[in-house]
Amino acid sequence: EKADRDQPINLEADSVQVNEAKKISTYSGNVILTQGTLMIRGDKLVVREDKEGFQHSTSTGNPTTFRQKRDGSNEYMEGSALRIEYDGRMDKVQLFNKAWVKRGEDVVHGDYISYDASSEYAEVIGGGSQAAGNTGAGGGRVKAVIQPKKKTTDSSAPTAAP
Amino acid sequence: CGFQLRGVNDIAFKNLYLQGQNVSIARDLKRSLLSNGVALVPTPEQADLMLEILSESAEKRILSLSGTGRVREFELNYQVNFRIKDPSNELWGMPQTISGRRDFTFDDSQLLAKQGEEARLNDDMRADAVRELMHVLSVQRPKPRTKPPVE
């Protein structure tokens, strides 16, 4: 959600090393970053602040996951990969290797997924073509599963608690 | 020359489950089984052997014509297809066929009498088929069932 960018960032981890000069802090061990509805988890998280003060984070894990509520809908976006890079300024998330992103019930699976929250544009590469990072699982194919389109009538009905 | 009288009554089973009974030989077959000491059981589980009559077909064809195109001889064919299952193995046996053939001379001026002869030959052909089927049954040596029959 756009509002996330103005929210304070809260970080938990087993240990942290801060390098004030380069404005890089490295959190490792059960790292959990929350900023408004955005939540990133992983084994290791490196946060870098650029000149304009935007935060750029790179989390790695087996896997590392992120979760964020989408604008103007109570649907959540979730994703998981071996490495997730978040560009605070562009509000863009990139997932590398064994990546999958789930939006509502639909899920897409590939080797590299980039998701631009502001323009709501996502791109998934199967690693067949210009693979970012090493070739992922699934022989370089992107797979997306789209759930049956609910008839418009029932989706407006209040969805019962899961 | 090696022939001896047939030995013990060689129907080697007591209970038969008969499937596919709306065929013309069903009544004679049941009577023949009964008189050979074979009981018909209502369910396959109680049976020592299962016999399924798959189909039967009867045909009457013109066999010979006279010079003026009149029918001189008719041929009667009868065929029954069946298969046998030994309760101890899962699969049905290969379908087997018993076929009979008769022919009789025909004369249009004795139509009713020839209809009587045709009926007699048809009955005789079916009686032969039942005898052959009984012989096929007498050759079967069903192995006792592996699972105890469901009481």
Binding site: Y121, G128, K143, A144, V145 | Q4, E56, G67
Partner: protein, 785 residues
């Protein structure tokens, strides 16, 4: 390792989750690369595919607009599903209502293979109704023989396993199972073989009913348009389809060139009708109609043919057959079969099928039957239309027959009791005197009357594994009430008398079973030797005052050798004090029990003169009957042999000698040879066969020559070419007919992948004329490994 996995189960794209997503109506999309614009457009690039439960659509690039559910495939578009594959440069399709378009489509259709065709040999019943598709399955067993003029046999039949393909300028998807093609071509030839096409400016395909309709269609065969039809209906999978059928073309000397254009109407699942107009160059336009129906417990067929003012004879000519059978399931069943034809020469002049040209008596009958484990009851009302004869069968108005058989357990033995009773009223219309040519002059009489017969009998079988003895005691009682009882036999007048006839009948049947095991080549057999003695005693009663209603002397063969009464029917009971001796040997497969070979030799010794005979017939001379022999064999080498002889010991001459051999190694290869001789009745040789001349050509032939009449009775020569997706057959036939001189008929039939056959159908003749004949189109599919 981190335990950072959060509680929510990570949704993995596993086969299981994908499968039930698809099953629930969702879709799996695959590609090398995908771009999503949330809720607006998905762009899958790099051999993309979208898989739903109905079908799989693939192409170089797939764009899917989720809002309006439209799908665009750019490059190598391909839709696969429901047995069909459609390929084209690209595709536009709305997934919601399946509306869309594809340019330059190529399509292939492979119907799901039918359930494994049962391996049982199919012998078609002689009067099975063969329609242009699956015959209406005939569940009620046919009792009486009622082969009759089948009328038209539509021949549009799709070989269920034939694949079909085609192309078009454009394909429009118009709803769930509806497609429309413009400027389309359709064939069942495999890719690369373009021998024939149905070319249509427009073609509608209904995937649900597996049918198609081609508008202003042309059938092109080897590039030559051979058939134009404003509308052609066809079905993909041998389903009955209403519509215009391919016309039948033929020529006969008697009726000239004929073209029959049929229309098939598939009224309902168990009901169909065929209407046809048959243009006969020498006679005019004949209308043909067939209406058939079938249900769980009933079935019926009605054929009508009407030829107004035949140009050759000037009068209206018609044929009608109405038939119905009903099973009431509680043992009762009933039916009627009524047949009528306008004039005596109808069949021989208007039909070329032997099974019809040879018909002389057309039954008009109704029957009511009951059967259970003990009783058999039959009520029959029957009369005949007789064509061109001086002998007319008696009308039975009605005949009631009741027969009961019951086994009783007495101690450890069974006793069988049988009661046969019949009451019948024999009538005849004045215009039809009974004229019977007998060996010693003619019998002319108008006698009618009512006859009651009762024949109770008891038999007590003493059976052992090695043999049996079965005495049988019975009393045969018959009583007659006769009207207009005078007759003239060979010029001498006489008179039948009402009265009764009661005879005791005693028979003693006995037999032994000898067995031994033998081996032939590598198979082990049980060979049996079964001597049998059969004694019959029936005292003599003078029966010359009893008329002949339904009685004649039965053929002497291995069946009648063991009958009490050599006469069929109830008007004559032969006097008997005779002993029949016979021996039968059989070769039975030791493992399966199948009978491979059986031979019987028998003779009857008469200890009294024959004193009961048919009017004007010669009585048997001498004390011994003829020697009768019969052999039947089904050899593993695919040879079937059936032979029978009858030798008269008194005159030391052969009365009957029939030898028939059939060699049928595999479908499409059959040879039948037979020599049939019956003293002063027939003396014929008969050769028929179907043999492959080369991988694609088959020769067909039948030659039936009467040595007695020194002339051919039936000749048939034909060639059949099988090009895989089409078959052509041509047959020339010479048929001698009952009421006119020989009739030559020429047939040509072109069968396009079983889809539409053009040309008069010689099928009926070939199956009757060449026993074991297999249509070339079916030979490949039936030669299964």
């Amino acid at each position: 390792a981190s335990d950072a996995a959060d509680e929510t189960a990570r949704p993995r794209v596993t086969e299981a989750s994908t499968a039930n997503a698809i099953a629930a109506g969702g879709a799996l999309i695959e590609a090398d690369r995908m771009e999503f614009r949330m809720d607006r457009r998905l762009d899958a690039i790099g051999n993309a595919a979208i898989i739903t439960d109905k079908q799989q659509i693939s192409g170089d690039r797939i764009q899917y607009e989720e809002l309006n559910e439209t799908l665009r495939v750019i490059g190598n578009a391909r839709i696969e599903g429901g047995g069909s594959v459609i390929k084209g440069p690209d595709l536009r399709l709305n997934m919601g209502d399946t509306v869309g378009e594809m340019k330059q489509p190529i399509f292939f259709y492979q119907p799901a293979a039918p359930a494994a065709a049962s391996a049982l040999p199919q012998t078609a019943t002689s009067n099975a109704i063969r329609s242009n598709s699956r015959p209406l399955r005939n569940r009620l067993t046919k009792s009486a023989y009622d082969d009759s003029n089948k009328g038209y046999q539509p021949q549009l039949r799709t070989n269920t396993t034939a694949a079909s393909r085609g192309d078009a300028d454009a394909m429009f998807f118009e709803g769930q199972n509806k497609k429309r093609l413009t400027n389309a071509r359709y064939t069942t030839c495999e890719a690369g073989v373009d021998d024939w096409y149905i070319r249509a400016s427009e073609m509608e395909i209904d995937d649900f009913n597996k049918t198609g309709t081609a508008r202003n269609a042309r059938v092109e065969f080897l590039g030559v348009p051979i058939l134009y039809a404003p509308k052609i209906d066809f079905s993909f999978q041998n389903l009955r389809k209403t519509g215009l059928l391919a016309p039948l073309i033929g020529t006969t000397t008697r009726s000239g060139f004929e073209v029959l254009t049929p229309f098939y109407w598939n009224i309902a699942p168990g009901m169909d009708a065929t209407f046809g107009t048959r243009l006969l160059s020498k006679r005019g336009l004949q209308y043909q109609g067939e209406f058939r129906y079938m249900g769980e417990t009933y079935q019926g067929g009605n054929n009508i043919e009407y030829l107004p003012s035949d140009t050759s004879t000037g009068d209206n000519r018609y044929y009608a057959k109405l038939q119905h059978q009903q099973d009431f399931l509680n043992g009762w069943s009933a039916g009627y079969s009524l047949e009528k034809v306008s004039d005596d020469n109808y069949f021989s002049e208007l039909s070329t099928r032997i099974t019809t040209t040879s018909r002389v008596n057309l039954a008009q009958q109704a029957s009511l039957n009951y059967a259970d484990d003990v009783w058999d009851f039959n009520l029959l009302v029957q009369r005949y239309q007789t064509l061109g004869q001086r002998t007319f069968p008696y009308e039975r108005l009605p005949q009631l027959t009741l027969n009961g058989t019951k086994d009783w357990e007495v101690g450890d033995r069974y006793v069988n009791t049988n009661l046969y009773t019949q009451w019948v009223s024999f009538n005849r219309s004045e215009s039809q005197p009974n004229f019977l040519a007998t060996p010693n002059g003619n019998l002319l009489t108008g006698v009618t009357g009512r006859r009651f017969t009762a024949y109770p009998s008891v038999s007590i079988p003493f059976t052992r594994p090695y043999g049996y003895i079965t005495p049988k005691f019975g009393a045969h009682h018959t009583s007659y009430q006769l009207d207009n009882t005078d007759f003239t036999l060979n010029g001498v007048n006489g008179e039948y008398q009402s009265g009764t006839r009661t005879l005791p009948i005693f028979s003693l049947d006995s037999g032994l079973y000898y067995e031994r095991n033998t081996r032939i080549v590598k198979n082990s057999y049980t060979q049996t030797l079964e001597p049998r003695l059969y004694y019959v005693y029936i005292p003599n009663r003078d029966q010359s005052a009893i008329p002949i209603f339904d009685t004649a002397l039965a053929d002497l063969n291995t069946s009648s050798l063991f009958q009490e009464n050599q006469f069929t029917g109830n008007d004559r009971i032969n006097n008997a004090n005779q002993l029949t001796m016979a021996v039968t040997t059989r070769m039975l497969d030791a493992r399966t029990g199948d009978q491979r070979f059986a031979a019987t030799l028998g003779q009857r010794f008469n200890f009294t003169e024959q004193r009961v005979g048919l009017p004007g017939a010669n009585l048997r001379r001498g004390d011994s009957s003829d020697i009768v022999a019969a052999v039947t064999a089904k050899l593993l080498s695919k040879w079937n042999v059936d032979a029978a002889w009858q030798y008269n010991t008194y005159d030391a001459e052969l009365v009957r000698s029939n030898i028939g051999m059939r060699y049928n190694p595999e479908p499409g290869k059959v040879m039948n040879l037979s020599y049939r001789y019956t003293a002063d009745l027939l003396d014929q040789i008969n050769v028929s066969g179907q043999w492959p001349l080369s991988p694609r050509w088959y020769g067909l032939g039948r030659y039936n020559y009467s040595l007695e009449e020194h002339s051919p009775i039936e000749g048939l020569a034909g060639l059949e070419y099988d090009a895989g997706c089409w078959q052509a057959r041509t047959v020339l036939q010479r048929v001698s007919t009952a009421t006119a001189d020989a009739n030559y008929a020429f047939f040509f039939q072109l069968e396009l992948g079983g889809l539409a056959s053009i040309g008069a159908s010689p099928m009926r003749y070939l199956e009757r004329g060449i026993p074991g004949y297999t249509r070339s189109g079916e030979i490949q599919s039936s030669v299964t490994p």
